[in-house]
């Protein structure tokens, strides 16, 4: 044990001797780990968060497709859907996108006579069945973009170019701002006018299924009975989101892996081409009685101190970047651009496997890149130092 402690102390001395180069190496190394870990944490948190939000969606929804386009679906279909065995609830939904010419932003307008499940109010009051027109509950994105607040009147243009004035009665928050940032919830009638959807049709029809195991059966029955419809399940949507985040993240991670690889190659070249001074020092150590395992322990300690500290620093910095500051360096690339940029706060969610992965991809290659060339130097003949 004393031997290990002595070697560890000696390693610390050697690192302290060239503290400037050691520090700069740790800084560069940390930056790479930071970038890599930030993406990993961001993707993981986003997937986790979208998973939570999407869990509040209905089990199945039915959309009408003509010529590959989505078109409003007739409300008559509702009765037929309700008769399918296993369906517990059917409701028509009116929603769509509204392009705001003044700001260039695209907002999601949802018709409702109540606050949709899973969403909560930040301030003001929500909609009730008594609200038939003239009111709206908005996400924070709309308020910030227009500089308005609760009680303000806002103006929309309907599909027939008539102006509609709505009063903001409430502001949304939710467990995540991810879906409410660009959201405007208005009474059904108002939504139909703004989106140009007639009273006899809806954007889509949402279905709840009693037994989650029967979702696929219900989907099959709907597809068989009603032509020209697309049936989407909640699981499909969750899976699509996960794939999307995974795809974007993978592209990023791929680039970062190349950086990491370049760093390892650099470390390998540096260590592989041990300077004559370093080789001489290994020779001196061998000549005065250090065995090959002693030198390997020292180099292992040296590599571990550098790589472990750099990885830890990178991980802590990445955690702060993603969960305290909301990943400002990654959002534009991984979430997408928009006028109404989602200002959501990421939920702190980090899996142990990710930490292990970062350590595995960071510490192991660095150790290999430094220990192996040192071993090559250590197996050299100690008598060479006599002739040096």
């Amino acid at each position: 044990m004393s031997r290990w402690i002595n070697i560890l102390g000696f390693t610390a001395l050697l690192l302290k001797r060239y503290w400037r180069s050691t520090l700069s190496l740790i800084v560069v190394y940390s930056i790479i780990v930071f970038a890599f870990a930030s993406v990993l944490m961001f993707i993981q948190s986003l997937s986790y968060e979208s998973g939570i939000v999407l869990r509040s969606l209905p089990d199945v929804w039915v959309q009408r497709v003509i010529g590959g386009r989505l078109v409003p679906i007739d409300n008559d279909v509702t009765a037929g859907l309700a008769k399918i065995r296993g369906v517990s609830c059917v409701h028509q939904r009116v929603w769509g996108y509204y392009f705001d010419e003044g700001t260039g932003g695209v907002f999601t307008i949802v018709g409702s006579d109540s606050i949709p499940d899973g969403l909560t109010m930040l301030a003001g009051k929500g909609l009730t069945s008594f609200d038939t027109a003239g009111v709206a509950v908005c996400g924070t994105g709309y308020l910030e973009l227009h500089g308005v607040s609760i009680g303000s009147d806002i103006i929309f243009t309907d599909t027939e170019r008539h102006l509609r004035t709505l009063r903001i009665t409430g502001v949304f928050t939710s467990s995540s701002d991810l879906i409410t940032r660009d959201l405007i919830v208005v009474p059904y009638g108002e939504a139909r006018r703004l989106l140009g959807i007639g009273n006899t049709s809806s954007t889509d029809i949402a279905i709840d299924v009693t037994n989650p195991d029967e979702v696929e059966t219900v989907v099959r029955k709907i597809s068989q009975r009603i032509p020209n419809v697309r049936v989407v399940t909640r699981e499909q949507l969750i899976s699509t989101y996960q794939s999307l985040f995974g795809y974007r993240g993978s592209l990023f991670l791929f680039g970062l892996m190349i950086s990491l690889l370049a760093f390892v190659i650099l470390a390998w070249q540096k260590a592989g081409g041990l300077s004559s001074k370093e080789q001489r020092e290994i020779g001196i150590q061998k000549a005065v009685g250090w065995s090959i395992p002693d030198i390997m322990i020292q180099k292992f300690c040296e590599g571990t101190i550098i790589s472990f500290n750099a990885t830890l620093l990178g991980l802590i910095a990445a955690y702060c970047h993603v969960f305290f500051f909301g990943a400002p360096l990654l959002k534009p690339f991984l979430v997408g651009w928009s006028v109404v940029f989602p200002g959501f706060h990421l939920l702190s969610h980090l899996e142990l496997s990710s930490i292990v992965l970062v350590f595995f991809l960071s510490v192991i290659p660095y150790l290999a890149a430094t220990v192996v060339p040192s071993w090559k130097a250590a197996i050299s003949d100690p008598a060479e130092i006599m002739h040096a």
């Binding site: 044990m1 004393s2 031997r3 002595n6 070697i7 000696f10 001395l13 050697l14 001797r17 060239y18 001074k277 001489r280 020092e281 020779g283 001196i284 150590q285 061998k286 000549a287 005065v288 009685g289 250090w290 065995s291 090959i292 002693d294 003949d381 100690p382 008598a383 130092i385 006599m386 002739h387 040096a388």
Partner: protein, 230 residues
């Protein structure tokens, strides 16, 4: 009668054997060294003195022949066991001193003691003991690049002694020293004899082999012992 501490029997060392650049550095050398002796290997550069020291100091193995050090037949040992043996029984003073740059005198002296697994306290005691004997204790905290030539030399000797070996090997120890420092070194070696150390010195400096402290001079030329006498 002192015990034999080193016995070499007909040792041969050939580098790059069978190659066009083959070198026969040591050829059929037989000798013995007794405990407490100071033996000087005298010879011109390239005569094979350093190679012989390496062989007797367990740094490399002979091509043929037998070497016994401290009663152990080391010739067939693996490098690992030779290292273990060397760290316990042999201390080296190199021609260029070979200290580690930017470390202090104290840190340099501790280097051989680190793998011994000594406690910090024990290591500290040993460093201070030898630093005091060699009169460098006031310079222990200084990086070696701030020390004078004589102080560097004494730090190198302290390093060779910190593991408390019985044998000290010195390879051209006065090669980079002026006359005054060389004489100081002779005095130090003389003191080491009083501590029961056996010294083997490879040199072609008359100050060393001409000094009274040398028990025996072995003349070496072209890998052979030419003459051995008191």
């Amino acid at each position: 009668m002192p015990e034999k501490i080193i016995v070499a029997d007909n040792i041969i060392k050939i580098f790059d054997e069978g190659q066009p650049n083959e070198v026969r550095a040591v050829q059929s050398v037989s000798l013995c060294v007794f405990e407490g002796e100071i033996v000087a290997f005298r010879g011109p550069s390239g005569s094979g003195k350093t190679t012989l020291l390496s062989l007797l100091g367990c740094m490399c193995k002979p091509t043929s022949g037998e070497i016994i050090v401290c009663g152990e037949r080391i010739t067939k040992w693996s490098e690992h066991f030779l290292t273990m043996f060397r760290r316990k029984h042999i201390g080296f003073v190199f021609q260029n001193f070979n200290l580690i740059e930017h470390l202090t005198a104290y840190q340099n002296i501790t280097v051989p003691a680190i793998p011994l697994g000594l406690s910090f306290h024990e290591m500290n005691l040993r460093v201070h003991k030898w630093a005091e004997i060699l009169r460098v204790d006031h310079r222990l905290a200084f990086p070696i690049n701030l020390l004078s030539g004589g102080e560097i030399q004494r730090v190198a000797i302290a390093r060779a002694l910190v593991a408390e070996p019985e044998l000290i090997f010195a390879d051209e120890p006065t090669a980079h020293l002026d006359t005054k420092l060389s004489n100081e070194l002779i005095e130090i070696f003389s003191n080491l004899k009083d501590y029961g150390k056996t010294l083997l010195i490879a040199t072609h400096d008359p100050i060393v082999y001409g000094s009274k402290i040398v028990s025996r001079i072995i003349d070496f030329r072209d890998g052979h012992i030419v003459e051995s006498g008191a």
